[in-house]
Amino acid sequence: MRFDTPATTNPIDQLKIVGQPIHRIDGPLKTAGKAVYAYEWHDPNTPYAYGYIVGSAIAKGRIRSIDVTAAKNAPGVLAVVTTDGVGELKKGKYNTAKLFGGTEVQHYHQAIAVVAAETFEEARAAASLVKVHYAEEKGVFDLAAARDTAVKPDDGEPDSAAGDFNAAFETAPVKLDQTYTTPDQSHAMMEPHASIAAWSGDELTVWTSSQMIDWWRTDLATTLGIDKEKVHIMSPFIGGGFGVKLFLRADAVLAALAAREAKRPVKVALPRPFLMNNTTHRPATIQRIRIGAGRHGRITAIAHESWSGDLPGGGPEVAVQQTRLLYAGENRMTAMRLATLDLPEGNAMRAPGEAPGMMALEIAIDEMAERLGLDPVEFRTINDTQVDPEKPERPFSHRDLVGCLRTGAQRFGWKDRSKRPGSRRDGDWLVGMGVGSAFRNNLVVPSGARVRLDRGGVVTVETDMTDIGTGSYTIIAQTAAEMLGVPVDKVAVSLGDSRFPVSSGSGGQFGGNSSTAGVYAACVKLREAVAQKLGFNNADDVIFADGEVRSGDRRITLAEAAGDEGLVAEDRIEFGKLTETHQQSTFGAHFVEVGVDVATGETRLRRMLAVCAAGRILNPITARSQVIGAMTMGVGAALSEDLVVDKARGFFVNHDLAAYEVPVHADIPHQEVIFLDETDPMSSPMKAKGIAELGLCGVAAAVANAIYNATGVRVRDYPITLDKLINGLPELS
């Protein structure tokens, strides 16, 4: 199905099941521990071996030699595979750093060997016996120091401009020119990377934890130099990913190579410290923002420049993306520059681009509002735009940022915010409120699905879509149930298997809308097949409801319609030019109240509210869950998450969950989420958009702005830890 004109009325609009607060259909499996995650696949008749990774101890250089004698002779060891031993391997299309093979070391904890043994403990013990001789080279690890060496990246759209920024900024009566920094961040998801690989002849099956089945399948085949058709990937349950499981990772490659060598299925999980330095992270940024405005608050000039770093061949953190679209202003420019750094690969983490971009932009907007003497909600409202400000001929498909801000202000009691920073006190707490807009582009990605109807009237959906904890199982079941007129418990959903039609996968908040649209397309086909089989002339007049197919006075149960042989339909949604003619984005507003301890500078959240305008909400429970999780992640970004670079040794030092501090329950106060009731017919037949990343964008800045409102101390360098506040706090008696 091609989607190239706005959606009109369709069966989803009935909203009998879609849009309803239905609990996760996979919830009981998960709470009972019966959902099988990658490392847990276990066939009692299979003699699994356990693999343990050896990571590079240096950040840059070459491997001179690897001595595996002691490791090979250690108890239980079945195979040792080394990076120099396997020689050069091809790199997957989506990988920047190579995962394994050859003698070059590009970053700390790069995989350089895997040891497979009878037990996990034996493998781990033997891995520590692998002796590596390196030729270490000097690397570049410090973004601030490398800033001047940064260049304009070749790919993408590093620069943009409209009007004459310089002239307009020069003459603007009120201006701001500030620099903000965001640190490297780690995805820190619950389930570590893990894979089991089993060969059967030249065919490989890998149970793994992947957000994108087909990307993994393709890149694993490329890396191993085998035919893609010979690779079978399974990833039905994923314990979080946030982007770090978008692209093939070392665990799958090591498991496959070790299994080939050990001649047995091998399980490999990356130990927690390898998450930070072996895989990918959100790159740090330095962002300069300049805004010029007239006295009444209209932005006349806005510029956003961002510097980030990556390994050779990598890309920039697209932190200026939102500034091209979020606020009006005739004269504008954005630019991204990329430095070469010898740190681990920087890549997508939840809301790449907008998450760190909004961390900077939304402080700048707060600062500008203050200079103008305007309420920050009002300043944002004044500068709303219904068209792409760089290309005014392109309207937004649907945009209600102002509705979010107004609703939020009212619900949060924004009018009680003290206008004078540092003036509200509650015992030992300095109390303040902050706001940030939320903005994230809405991406649409082709997505396929197969739908079967059996003689029991049960509908089975098969797609290689993944559920990374988001609720894909549930919204897909709701979509099929709505389309075919059956209750949700008559729908079985099978995901995460490369034998199923290729889907959008999960990432970039495109999965929910795109994958359900793919299921919609397949269901439309199935409806046609049912109608045709029953001899109904015009499928449009056929009603699917209550487990029956009706046309005129004929009613037949779906079970009967399916008959003994059943019915099956497969289709794929593909998106046309609507994304070019119309800018599709999602909008929201974050409001937070913080208390800052007057003595110590400890910041504790008191209340949080998110208002989202993101098209149709397919399921308010799972959508809310996405947003509150994202808000929590935003609190981490604001207050504690900082992957600290050792600038001499070239690695992320705090590489475990004790030292890389994500929020804990005690950090998160009452969270409220409001979804504005809207649809976006330009986005898909589902009229839905992404929600999962929107919930993160703008949160950290809202926290930062609240801290400023509480204390009068403006911190532009994340995370806002107490050491950055303490010297600006009031004297104590």
Partner: protein, 316 residues
Amino acid sequence: MRAFSYECASSIETAAKAAASTDGAKFIAGGTNLLDLMKLEIETPTHLIDVNGLGLDRIEPTPEGGLRIGALVRNTDLAADERIRRDYGLLSRALLAGASGQLRNRATTAGNLLQRTRCPYFYDTNQPCNKRQPGSGCAAIAGFSRQLGVVGVSDACIATHPGDMAVAMRALDAVIETIRADGTTRSIPIADFHRLPGKTPDIEHVLERGELITAVVLPKPMGGKHIYRKVRDRASYAFALVSVGAIVQPDGTGRIAVGGIAPKPWRDEAAEKELPRGAKAASTRLLADARPTEQNAFKITLVERMLSAVLAEARG
């Protein structure tokens, strides 16, 4: 983790004797610190002596009016004990500020005193660390030192004792009771228990080879207001940037021990004499010899402000 042998000790005497006579032996109590370190091969004992079954899990009154806390009393039980909560509130609060419920259920009194530093370089065996591998250097001093010590540190090591319980015990002047391999016992005031790093940061305490902690003795209750204030970047489940354990008497005199800033709970009786003159005077004295890094210099200000807040809280 390296392979090791394991035994359950049958008495405190045999435990101490076995530990002294077996190369590479170590006691294991709750295992919440030791096992983590063994998995990373930071600790590589070849023999573990399990001391959980030695009946050292009671809290009993002493003839002096204090309490004798068995070495194996779990942190949870100690924090919940009625007498501790009533007469040594500082200790109960310090314990509850540490780790998580699950960990406190396992963690023991002796194990807590002996927990090792949380310096991130100590935890990464690829990095130089004088404490883990004497003579290899210290990566932290010129590296990531925000969490580390500002006072009592040396050019060889700036790591902290990361714990909370010991801070309270230092303020209370607890005494550590041990038995040695030859069967003799001794009492070590907590002030003398942990060693400063000097040139040998790998030696962290005064226990001899095989010496087993049997109990920690608290003196008789000393009244006053008991306050434990722990500051960290998140609200729970993190080690202290700085913690202050205080017992403040109605006349403004008191005891102050500070955690998170030194290789041992930091207390200076001379600084306490300054307390009536206020937080600034006391903290200036307490930190007179501080040598912070650029990254952890904020701890100096933080200590002073925390003292100020604690004194205000004590005044009520």
